[in-house]
C-alpha cells in the first residue's frame, strides 16, 4: 500500500528526515516511536502533503502512485488520513458542516450526488455515539475551544466518517483520559479491516495494548534506528530510548 524509500526532508533548510524507508501493506498496523524531536510528526505531515516540508530525496508510493506529485487534497481523496498531533482551531466553521464538506468532497470526486443533510446527520450521530461524544459537538465550531482530549476524539470522528485506506495517527493517545483512550482505541479497531492500514505514532506502549501493532519502529534523529514487533515497545517502555540510540 505504502512504500517510502530513502526519504530525506527539510524544513526551512534544516534536514529533519535523513533517509527513511518503510513499507506498509494492507491490513497492517505499524507503530512509530521515538524521542521528542526525532521527526515523527514531520514524517506524518510529509505523508499528508504539508506544503512547508521539502522532500530533498527519496520516493513515496501509495498504491503504486507517486504520492509526492499529489497535493494534500488529492492525497486525502485517494484515502490518506492524518490525525493531527495538534489539531488547529477554526472559529466560525461549524464542526458538523466541516465533516459534511469533507464527506461530500469524496462523493463529488466519485461523481456521486452530495449526501442529504439529514442522512449525514444520522451517520454523524451514529459515529459520535460510538466515540461517546455528546451531540453538542456537532454545533460547536471546529476544534474551537475544544479541550486537548476533545480535539483528539474529534480527529477520530473525522476518520470514522472518512474511512481512509491509510490512517496516520500522530499521538492521538496523548491528552486522552483512560476511559477516552479505551473508547478511541475501540473505535479505531472497529474501523479496521484487511484492506486498510494504520500507522500509529505514540510515546506510550499503553495504546499498543489496545491496538496491537504488527511492527514497531524507532525513529531517532530522522532515521529508523530499530524495527521489531510489539516486544520492542515493551522493552522501550522499561529501558527508555538510550539503549536503541546509543547502539547506533
Amino acid at each position: 500500500m505504502l512504500e517510502i524509500k530513502n526519504l530525506h526532508a527539510r524544513v526551512d533548510g534544516n534536514e529533519i528526515l535523513e533517509g527513511i524507508s518503510l513499507t506498509v501493506k494492507a491490513g497492517e498496523i505499524h507503530a512509530v516511536m521515538g524521542p521528542n524531536g526525532s521527526g515523527k510528526s514531520t514524517l506524518a505531515k510529509i505523508l499528508s502533503g504539508h506544503p512547508s516540508y521539502e522532500v530533498a530525496d527519496g520516493q513515496i508510493l501509495f498504491e503504486k502512485n507517486n504520492l509526492l506529485e499529489m497535493d494534500a487534497e488529492e492525497r486525502s481523496l485517494s484515502g490518506i488520513f492524518m490525525g493531527f498531533q495538534y489539531p488547529v482551531e477554526v472559529p466560525g466553521v461549524n464542526n458538523a458542516e466541516f465533516l459534511r464538506m469533507a464527506f461530500n468532497a469524496r462523493r463529488v470526486r466519485d461523481g456521486e450526488e452530495e449526501i442529504d443533510p439529514l442522512d449525514f446527520d444520522e451517520l454523524l450521530s451514529e459515529k459520535m455515539k460510538m466515540l461517546k461524544m455528546e451531540n453538542k459537538y456537532k454545533e460547536r465550531n471546529l476544534n474551537d475551544g475544544f479541550s486537548g482530549g476533545e480535539k483528539k476524539k474529534n480527529e477520530i470522528l473525522q476518520m470514522a466518517i472518512l474511512k481512509p485506506k491509510l490512517a496516520i495517527l500522530d499521538e492521538t493517545d496523548s491528552g486522552l483520559d483512560i476511559d477516552a483512550l479505551r473508547t478511541v482505541a475501540e473505535g479505531v479497531n472497529s474501523l479496521r479491516n484487511e484492506k486498510n492500514a494504520l500507522i500509529l505514532i505514540t510515546h506510550y506502549q499503553r495504546l499498543l495494548d489496545y491496538i496491537k501493532p504488527d511492527f514497531v519502529h524507532v525513529l531517532h534523529k530522522g532515521k529508523i534506528v530499530k524495527s521489531g514487533d510489539k516486544a520492542l515497545a515493551i522493552e522501550l517502555e522499561s529501558q527508555g530510548y538510550d539503549w536503541v540510540t546509543t547502539e547506533n
Binding site: 486525502s76 488520513f81 472559529p91 466560525g92 466553521v93 465550531n141
Partner: protein, 487 residues
C-alpha cells in the same frame, strides 16, 4: 441688469453652446461632455443643461460656495495623491454603455470572475451588457418591474426625472439628511451631481419587490457624482439594493456619491450594497477608483428603522460611513458591514449612530478582512444626545488578517450626554492561517472551499442580512479575492 450678471450669463451659454476656446464640450457619437474644470459657471451650466427648477440651481450654488471654502479631509487613515478638481469634467450626458455582440467580446478577466461567481449565462450577458436575446430581455424585465411598482404607487426613477416630475417632493427632502456643507465631498456632490436614483414609497405600502439600481443603470455608465434619495412614508417598507458583484471598471477615478434615506413614522428602509469597483493594479495599486461616499439615513418618524448592509470589496480607496440619525422616539439604526481589502487597497469605513430620540437603539456589526499589503480601518461613532434617554448601542468590530503584511485598525468614538445610556463594544482580531487551510485540504476539501468556509463563518452575521442570491454571490466574491492572498 448689471454688467456682471450679463457677463456671467454669457459664459454659461458659452459653456452650453460650445463657442469659445476655453469652454465647450466635446460631442462624440455617444456622449457629450463638458470641458474639464470647475467654476460657478460650470455649476450653472449643469443645471441649465438639465433644465432644473430654480430651487435646484440655488441648492447647487450654495453648495458650490460652501465647497470653495472647504478642504479635502485629512483624517481618514488613507493615503493618496491630492486630486486636481480642475482636471475633471463635470458633465457627461448619460452615455450608453457599449453593446457587445457576444460574450466573446468581454474582457477575459471579467469572464473568469463570472465563472467563479457561478453567475448564470443569461445573467452574465446582462451584466456585461451583451445584446440580449429573447430568452432574457432585460428591457422588458425592467418595464414589468416598473409597472408593478407603479401599481403600488411607488416612485422609482432617475433623480433628474424626479426633479422634472415631482419637484416638490425632491425640494422637500433633498439635503435634509446630508446638508450641502456636510463635508468636502458631499458639498462637491451637491454642487455638481448629474444623476442618481429617486425612490418614494407612499404611506401604508410594502414594496412588492427589492428595488435595485441595477434596473436603471445597467445600460448607462454610473455617474461620478451620484445622488440617491429614498423616502419611505408612514407605515411603509422598502428594501433597496445597490451595486452588483460583477467587477465594475470605470474611467472615472474619483467617485463621490451622496445617499440620503428618510423614514417617517413606523417606516423601515433596508439598504444593501455590494461594491466591487476596480481596485487598481494588484501589484502597484495604480489606476483604481477612489470611492468617497456620504451615506446617511434619518429616522424622522417615531418607531421607524434604517438598516445599512454593505459588502465592500473594491476601490483603490474607500472612504465611507453609512450612518443613522435616530431622531424619532423608539427608532433604530443598524449597520452590518464586511469590508475586504487586498493588494494595495485602503479602506476607511464605519458608521455613525446619532441618538436623539428616546429609547433609540443602534447596533453595529463590522467585519474587516485585510489581505496582502492592504490597510483596513474601522471608524465608528456613537453619539447620544441629552434627550435620548434609555438609548442603547451594541457594537462589534472583528478584524481578520490574511497573510502577514496587511493591517487592521479600529477607531471607536463614544460620546454620551446622558446617564441612562447603555453602550457595549466588543472587538476581536483573528487570522486565516496556512495551518487552517492545510487542515481542510488534508480532509480533501479544496483550498477555495476552505477559504469560503472560513470567510462565510467570519461574515455570517452580515451575510444573513443580504437577500439570498446576493449573499451567495458576495461570499464567492470574497473567496475569489482572497484565493491568492493566504500564505
Amino acid at each position: 441688469m448689471n454688467a456682471e450678471t450679463t457677463a456671467e450669463r454669457n459664459s454659461v451659454s458659452d459653456i452650453l453652446e460650445n463657442d469659445t476656446y476655453k469652454y465647450g464640450f466635446t460631442t462624440d457619437v455617444e456622449s457629450e461632455t463638458f470641458a474639464k474644470g470647475l467654476s460657478e459657471d460650470v455649476v450653472r451650466a449643469i443645471s441649465a443643461k438639465k433644465k432644473e427648477p430654480a430651487f435646484m440651481l440655488d441648492f447647487r450654488l450654495r453648495a458650490f460656495a460652501k465647497w470653495k471654502t472647504m478642504k479635502a479631509p485629512k483624517w481618514p487613515n488613507v493615503r493618496y495623491p491630492s486630486i486636481d478638481f480642475q482636471n475633471i469634467s463635470y458633465y457627461s450626458a448619460p452615455k450608453k454603455k457599449k453593446q457587445l455582440q457576444s460574450l466573446d467580446e468581454v474582457d477575459p478577466e471579467v469572464m473568469r470572475t463570472f465563472e467563479k461567481l457561478g453567475i448564470p449565462l443569461d445573467e452574465q450577458k446582462k451584466l456585461a451588457n451583451v445584446a440580449v436575446d429573447a430568452v432574457f430581455d432585460s428591457v422588458s424585465v425592467a418595464t414589468t418591474h416598473k409597472k408593478k411598482l407603479m401599481e403600488a404607487g411607488i416612485i422609482f426613477c432617475p433623480i433628474s426625472e424626479a426633479l422634472a416630475e415631482y419637484p416638490e417632493l425632491v425640494e422637500q427632502y433633498l439635503g435634509t439628511v446630508v446638508p450641502i456643507g456636510d463635508n468636502f465631498y458631499a458639498a462637491l456632490n451637491s454642487a455638481v451631481f448629474t444623476d442618481g436614483s429617486f425612490v418614494y414609497i407612499p404611506p401604508d405600502t410594502i414594496s412588492p419587490m427589492e428595488i435595485s439600481t441595477y434596473f436603471r443603470i445597467n445600460t448607462e455608465e454610473t455617474g461620478q457624482f451620484e445622488r440617491t434619495l429614498i423616502i419611505c412614508a408612514e407605515n411603509s417598507y422598502v428594501s433597496y439594493l445597490e451595486g452588483c458583484t460583477a467587477p465594475q471598471f470605470d474611467t472615472n477615478q474619483l467617485h463621490a456619491a451622496v445617499v440620503e434615506l428618510i423614514t417617517l413614522e413606523n417606516a423601515e428602509i433596508k439598504y444593501s450594497t455590494v461594491q466591487n469597483w476596480y481596485a487598481g493594479d494588484k501589484e502597484t495599486g495604480k489606476g483604481g477608483v477612489y470611492n468617497f461616499v456620504t451615506k446617511r439615513g434619518k429616522c424622522r418618524g417615531d418607531n421607524s428603522k434604517i438598516s445599512w448592509t454593505q459588502v465592500e470589496t473594491g476601490s483603490a480607496i474607500t472612504w465611507k460611513y453609512p450612518s443613522c440619525i435616530l431622531q424619532g422616539d423608539n427608532t433604530s439604526g443598524e449597520f452590518y458591514s464586511v469590508a475586504l481589502t487586498n493588494g494595495y487597497m485602503q479602506a476607511d469605513t464605519g458608521t455613525k449612530m446619532i441618538h436623539l430620540g428616546k429609547n433609540t437603539r443602534s447596533s453595529i456589526i463590522s467585519k474587516g478582512i485585510s489581505a496582502d499589503h492592504s490597510s483596513n480601518s474601522y471608524r465608528g461613532q456613537v453619539k447620544v444626545g441629552k434627550n435620548a434617554t434609555n438609548a442603547r448601542n451594541y457594537s462589534q468590530c472583528d478584524s481578520m488578517l490574511v497573510g502577514g503584511k496587511s493591517s487592521a485598525h479600529t477607531f471607536p468614538y463614544i460620546e454620551a450626554a446622558n446617564r441612562s445610556v447603555q453602550i457595549e463594544h466588543e472587538a476581536s482580531t483573528s487570522r486565516i492561517s496556512e495551518e487552517q487551510l492545510f487542515y481542510f485540504e488534508s480532509r480533501g476539501i479544496s483550498r477555495e472551499n476552505a477559504i469560503e468556509a472560513v470567510i462565510s463563518g467570519f461574515c455570517k452575521e452580515v451575510f444573513k442580512q443580504l437577500p439570498m442570491e446576493f449573499a451567495v454571490e458576495a461570499q464567492k466574491l470574497l473567496t475569489l479575492k482572497l484565493e491568492n492572498s493566504v500564505g
